[in-house]
Each structure stands twice: as structure tokens, then as C-alpha cells.
């Protein structure tokens, strides 16, 4: 089980990944004042490339169908579809960006579009009249999710969305004397239940396998950054309070002993092995449980992830337009075609993700429980998406996330007070931020 990709690097990297050299970009610019590329409102024609991130294996037919239909509707266009493997996607993007071979339409999450947009490689959709017009067809939250701080605009058409329920193990709840039908819904209840679980099992069964990540701070109601995203602020009292609670949890055995350096993968594995009682996940994890851990699936409970803000976390995926594309009009037309209501809904029927087009989530498929587990999770998740936000700041790099996790670990181990640890994490992250 892995968290929705795009927020964390998926899969264990097998080798050290490369350093990428920025200076190359200079050569790719070619002098034009507005970055070159053709007019956005020109004729829809020409050869474009469309790059997705690890979708070919399962959804080949869907995408080939889309492309066929688009090419037929717009004679003179040709779409070449490239799909990239899960691992090292940022490195592949960097190489293409540096080498001037970035595809015309490219699958990005906001953390990926931010550096690309900052380097002037993606089109600002709010600035261009043709694309700004499209804004109204997507939900405001999804459009906002693709807006980038400091860059004054959205840089990708909203595509699919996701949000995560919290899975729990009913058998372990029962064994600890907790009511398996009444899972915790707030952080306070979660901490209380975890304490009971630890006590009842003599410290053998932990409730959670990982330390709090930035989105946990967000859901707990901590203010993560200042308004213009130039400084981190999660060391405010509410943040210290969350970490203090986690520290108690760690000491009582409510957190797994290997939580300090856990990854979403290792945490997911512990849940699959029924070694921890709860784990956050996504709607599409259900199929994984059913297929790979039938024993667990029998005892699986599903609840909303606690969000003291009342706004759940949301992950957004988008399609960016290469600002130097030679066939911008065709690229825009195709990106809009892939993300239009009909095609998004069709895609979301094939896989447990959610469309970002306005009105889609009011359809029966996402509002009426059809009695299956999948249907129940789908309806619950769709409901959560209303008002959901992407808590993870787009300016927060993997390095800054590691800084946070390591400082949290120091606090849990007792090397530092929670306040000191968060102060240090914020100071380090701010320094990294200002260097950029």
C-alpha cells in the first residue's frame, strides 16, 4: 500500500538518483522573449506528445481510445503517447526539461509543476484567455490545487483527485476491548484508542506505524506556512501540541517501535501483516487488500481520516502545457479533452480516483451506496472531497520533508523537546527555501 503518488516518491529507489544540471536550460531557451512556442489560440493541428506517469500497464485501451477519438475530431493532429515508469519520474522530467525535450502535454502533480513553472517551462493557464476560459468547468478546489504560490496562476489542468480514508483492523480493535464499529474520528479519540490498544496488548500492538507527516500537521489544524508561502510556521503552539501527543503515544507503545524511519511502504506492509491497527490509504487500496491479504480484508474497517479542521486532505493530479510547445493550440485542446467531464468520469469508473470536473461528484455513481465495499468507500471519499484541500505545501521539497521527519524523530527519542525540534525543522527548511 502506498500513499497516493505525487506526494511521495513511490517505490524504493534502487540506486542513488542523479544530480541534474541546471545550466543546460540556457541552451534550450533560444532567445525568444516570451519563451517561444506557438500561439495558444491558433489552429488545432500538428504532432504533439502526451506524457503520463505509469498508467500504460492498466489503462492502455482507455488512452488509445481517447487519442483515436481526438485525432478523428481534429484532422491534422497526431498525438504520440509516452508513458513513464513509476520510479525516478522527477529525474526523467528534469532531463527532458534540461534537454529541451519536454513533452507538449505532461502529467504533473503540483509539487512537480512548481519547479517547472518557476523555470518558465509550463504555461500559466490563468494568463492565457483561451485556457482561463476553461476554468469554470472544474471544481474551484481542484483549480486552486493547481495554482502555484508566488507564480500567480494555475499551471496545470486539473485531472484526477484522490483522498484517503483511514483503514483499521477490526480484529485487533476487538482484542483490545475497543468497539470495532466505533473507530476514532478525531485526533483526540485516535490518541485515546491507541493508548488503550497499547495497554491491552502489553505494548505489543501499535496503532500507527508512522510518525506525523506534514499533512497530519495540516489536518490537525496547524498553520503550515505564511500566506505567501515564503516561510514555514508549523512550529506554532498547535504543532508543538501534536508532536507532544505523538511523543506520549510513542512512549506508551501506541506507535510502532520502527516508526521513526518508517516509509509509507513499510507502514503499509505492517498493516498488511496485521501488526499495526490503523493505516491511512486510498480508495484503490481496497483491491490490493482483497487480492493480497484476504485474511486482513475480512477484518477491514474503514473510516474517515481524522481532520480537526473539518477539511480532509486531497491529492491533485494535473496536465501541464509545455510553454515552448510548437503546437500549443493542439496541446491545449488535447489536455482539455482528456480532462473534460465525460473523459474524467470514464477514467474514474475504471479506477478508484475522482473526477475534478464540476458537478461530476453529484452523479449517482459517487453519491449512492451500491452495497459493495468499493461503493461505500467511493461514496464516503467523494463526500470528503467536498471542501478538501491539498495540505502539502508545493514548495516543500523531499529534502524538507526528511528534515521534518528527522527532527520529529529527535523529539520522540527525547533528544530534544517537541518545541525545539519543530523550531529547528522550521529554521532548516526556511533556509533551504530561501536558497532557491
Amino acid at each position: 500500500m502506498r500513499t497516493f503518488r505525487g506526494t511521495r516518491v513511490t517505490g524504493p529507489a534502487r540506486t542513488a538518483v542523479p544530480l541534474l544540471a541546471g545550466a543546460l536550460l540556457l541552451g534550450a531557451c533560444g532567445g525568444g522573449t516570451d519563451g517561444g512556442g506557438s500561439a495558444a489560440d491558433g489552429k488545432v493541428s500538428g504532432h504533439i506528445t502526451f506524457q503520463t506517469w505509469n498508467l500504460r500497464a492498466q489503462y492502455k485501451d482507455y488512452f488509445e481510445g481517447l487519442i483515436d477519438e481526438f485525432e478523428k475530431a481534429h484532422p491534422g493532429t497526431k498525438v504520440k503517447w509516452i508513458d513513464q515508469p513509476a520510479e525516478n519520474y522527477p529525474e526523467k522530467l528534469s532531463a527532458d526539461a534540461g534537454g529541451g525535450t519536454l513533452p507538449d502535454v505532461v502529467n504533473v502533480s503540483p509539487d512537480l509543476s512548481y519547479p517547472l513553472a518557476k523555470a518558465g517551462l509550463l504555461m500559466n493557464l490563468d494568463k492565457e484567455p483561451v485556457t482561463a476560459k476553461a476554468k469554470g468547468t472544474y471544481t474551484p478546489e481542484a483549480w486552486k490545487g493547481n495554482r502555484l504560490p508566488g507564480l500567480d496562476g494555475a499551471y496545470a489542468f486539473p485531472w484526477y483527485l484522490n483522498t484517503g480514508p483511514l483503514f483499521y483492523n477490526k480484529a485487533l480493535f476487538k482484542k483490545a476491548g475497543l468497539d470495532p464499529e466505533k473507530p476514532p474520528t478525531t485526533y483526540d479519540e485516535l490518541f485515546a484508542d491507541a493508548g488503550k490498544m497499547a495497554k491491552a496488548s502489553g505494548g505489543k500492538v501499535a496503532t500507527l506505524a508512522g510518525v506525523p507527516a506534514i499533512e497530519d500537521f495540516g489536518r490537525y489544524g496547524v498553520k503550515l506556512m505564511n500566506a505567501d508561502a515564503t516561510r514555514f510556521t508549523y512550529n506554532e503552539p498547535r504543532g508543538v501540541q501534536l508532536l507532544t501527543e505523538y511523543k506520549k503515544l510513542f512512549e506508551s507503545g501506541g506507535l510502532d517501535s520502527q516508526a521513526l524511519n518508517a516509509t509509507p511502504e513499510s507502514a503499509g506492509r505492517k498493516f498488511l501483516q496485521q501488526r499495526v491497527a490503523m493505516n491511512p490509504g486510498s480508495a484503490h487500496d481496497l483491491a490490493n487488500f482483497k487480492e493480497n491479504a484476504p485474511d486482513l480484508y475480512k477484518n477491514l474497517g474503514i473510516t474517515d481520516a481524522p481532520a480537526d479542521t473539518g477539511k480532509p486532505n486531497m491529492y491533485v493530479m494535473g496536465l501541464g502545457i509545455n510553454d515552448r510547445s510548437e503546437h500549443k493550440a493542439a496541446a491545449i485542446a488535447f489536455a482539455r479533452f482528456v480532462t473534460n467531464q465525460r473523459n474524467q468520469e470514464a477514467f474514474a469508473h475504471q479506477v478508484a480516483v475522482f473526477p475534478s470536473t464540476k458537478g461530476s461528484l453529484d452523479k449517482p455513481y459517487w453519491t449512492e451506496d451500491d452495497g459493495t465495499d468499493e461503493g461505500r468507500v467511493r461514496v464516503a471519499a467523494a463526500k470528503m472531497l467536498d471542501g478538501a484541500v491539498n495540505y502539502t505545501p508545493v514548495v516543500m521539497t523531499e529534502e524538507m520533508k526528511t528534515v521534518l521527519q528527522n527532527e520529529v524523530a529527535k523529539a520522540l527519542q527525547g533528544d530534544k523537546s517537541p518545541k525545539q525540534a519543530l523550531d529547528d525543522a522550521v529554521a532548516q527548511s526556511n533556509r533551504l527555501l530561501q536558497q532557491g
Binding site: 542523479p18 544540471a21 541546471g22 519547479p115 517501535s257 520502527q258 524511519n261 516509509t263 528527522n406 524523530a409
Partner: protein, 292 residues
């Protein structure tokens, strides 16, 4: 050979393919790394010259010192093992005993098995409730948190490296041993030398240069360790980053679309220089021993 036995150009013709490839595709690209080390370049933004700032930052970063300590510790512990153990294994499987083919393959398998899969198995063995701990429990010892304690994680990663190196260096030794004239061994055996004495007086001198080579190669590899630590300790480098190595720092700071290429290049340059130093040290020690 005192007489010149070849034309002056011959050596260079022999060297041409190798030198050309290495110069064009390894050393020349490395120049850009060297250049970046003195800038504040990012992945997608060319940097400006900042002089030694990256190096100063490194010296003031406690993570750097932790990582340097871990990488050096790795060399000190791992290298003696990877020089000796594979040689012993090679001697063991070299004999044409029955079923030995199976053992040869067994030692070689970890070399080809994907390190990700191998790490999964190790995690399963070393886990709080893994194989090793259930065995410890049976003899009444308390559970040991192999993967929760920074020191133990590093130790386990070292064991993993040594174990993966067994097969790899074994075949280098095997090839060297095959070149040792059999008569040497036989003569020693006739002289009544036991296996230990034969090892010391015949085998070791015969494969000495290979041992030096393996020593040099494995010091560089150990110093640049990444995968094993990454997979056992996690991307954070163990609890609170206590298990980070230098290459892990390079990876952490330099990758992704907003990677700090300048800083990571400076780290790479430091790694290159220390590795060079290590290599020269090994070769120097070898030369000294030879002249004595």
C-alpha cells in the same frame, strides 16, 4: 624487458578505445560537476558563482559529519571482510567436489538478485518480530530492535554489503586462482605444508595483487555505499538521520526538480577526493609492504 619490443604508437593504439570512452563519457561530464560545486545551481536554474560557500555550509552541517563518520566506519568494517571472506569462499568452492556447482551458484545468486528483494528478506529477518528475534526469544533473550536502533541498523547494512560482496569478489578471486600454477600447490604439499601454511605461503602471495585490487575496489564501493543503508534505514537515513552516508546526502539534497545541484556537486567532489585518497592509501600500503 630491456629491449623495446614494440613500436612507440602501439600502446596508445591499445589504449585508444578505453581512454576515448572513459574520457568522453565519464571524465568530461565530471568537469561540469566540478564546475557546479562552486555555484548555487538548482536542477532547473543555472547557478551563479558562490566560491567556497557550499563547502563552508558542509562543514557547518552536523549531518555532513555524521555521514562522513558513517561512510568511513563502513570502509573500516566492511573492507577487511570483503578482502578475506570471498577469498576463503573461493578456495572452498574451487575444489571440484560433488555438489559444489550448487554452492557456487548459491554464493553468486545474491549478486544478481535485485537489492530491493534482498532487502525485503533482510527486513523480514531483522524485524522486531522477525526470524532472528523469534529465535532469540526461544533462548530466552529479549527482542533486539535491529531496525529501530541507529547503530544496529548500520551494522546490519554492513553485514548485507559483505554478504552481497561475497559472490561478487569471489568470482574475481576464482579467476585469479585459476591462473596460479598448480605445481606451486603440489610442491608445497609434497613439502608437507598443511592447508593453513599453504594458504599463507602459496595462495596469498599468488593472489596478492588481486587482494590489493579487491581492497581498493571495495574501499571505494564501501565509501560510496547507498542502496543497502537506504533500504534498511529508510530514506531518512535511520532514526533521526543517524545512519546517513555521504551518497545519501548527495541524493537527498541534489535530486528532484528543485534539487540543490550546487551543494550536491560539492558533496560529490568531496566524495571523489576522499575516495581517491583511500585508493592511494591502499596502493601505497601495498607498495610499502612489497619493498620491505
Amino acid at each position: 624487458m630491456s629491449v623495446r619490443t614494440h613500436r612507440a604508437a602501439s600502446p596508445w593504439l591499445f589504449l585508444l578505445p578505453g581512454l576515448a570512452v572513459v574520457a568522453a563519457f565519464v571524465l568530461y561530464p565530471f568537469l561540469s560537476t566540478v564546475q557546479h560545486a562552486f555555484t548555487d545551481a538548482r536542477t532547473l536554474t543555472p547557478g551563479v558563482w558562490v566560491g567556497l560557500r557550499n563547502f563552508q555550509e558542509m562543514l557547518h552541517d552536523p549531518q555532513f559529519w555524521t555521514a562522513l563518520r558513517n561512510s568511513l566506519l563502513y570502509v573500516v568494517v566492511v573492507v577487511p571482510c570483503t578482502v578475506l571472506l570471498p577469498l576463503l569462499v573461493a578456495l572452498l568452492v574451487e575444489k571440484p567436489l560433488k555438489g559444489v556447482v550448487f554452492f557456487r551458484a548459491a554464493f553468486y545468486t545474491p549478486v544478481v538478485a535485485s537489492v530491493v528483494v534482498v532487502a525485503l528478506i533482510w527486513v523480514w529477518m531483522l524485524d522486531d518480530r522477525g526470524l532472528l528475534n523469534s529465535m532469540l526469544e526461544m533462548v530466552g533473550a529479549g527482542p533486539v530492535s535491529f531496525l529501530g536502533d541507529a547503530g544496529l541498523v548500520l551494522l546490519c547494512a554492513m553485514a548485507l554489503t559483505v554478504w552481497k560482496g561475497l559472490g561478487y569478489y569471489m568470482i574475481i578471486y576464482l579467476a585469479a586462482l585459476a591462473q596460479v600454477p598448480r605445481e606451486l600447490h603440489e610442491a608445497a604439499a609434497v613439502d608437507g605444508a598443511g592447508p593453513v601454511r599453504r594458504f599463507v605461503t602459496v595462495t596469498v602471495p599468488a593472489v596478492r595483487s588481486t587482494m590489493v585490487l579487491v581492497g581498493a575496489l571495495s574501499s571505494v564501493a564501501a565509501f560510496k555505499v547507498f542502496s543497502e543503508v537506504y533500504l534498511l534505514a529508510g530514506p531518512t537515513g535511520g532514526p533521526a538521520g543517524e545512519d546517513s552516508t555521504l551518497v545519501m546526502l548527495v541524493q537527498r539534497s541534489g535530486t528532484g526538480l528543485s534539487g540543490r545541484v550546487g551543494y550536491a556537486s560539492a558533496l560529490s567532489l568531496v566524495i571523489f577526493c576522499i575516495a581517491l585518497l583511500l585508493m592511494l592509501l591502499v596502493l601505497r600500503a601495498d607498495r610499502k609492504e612489497k619493498t620491505e
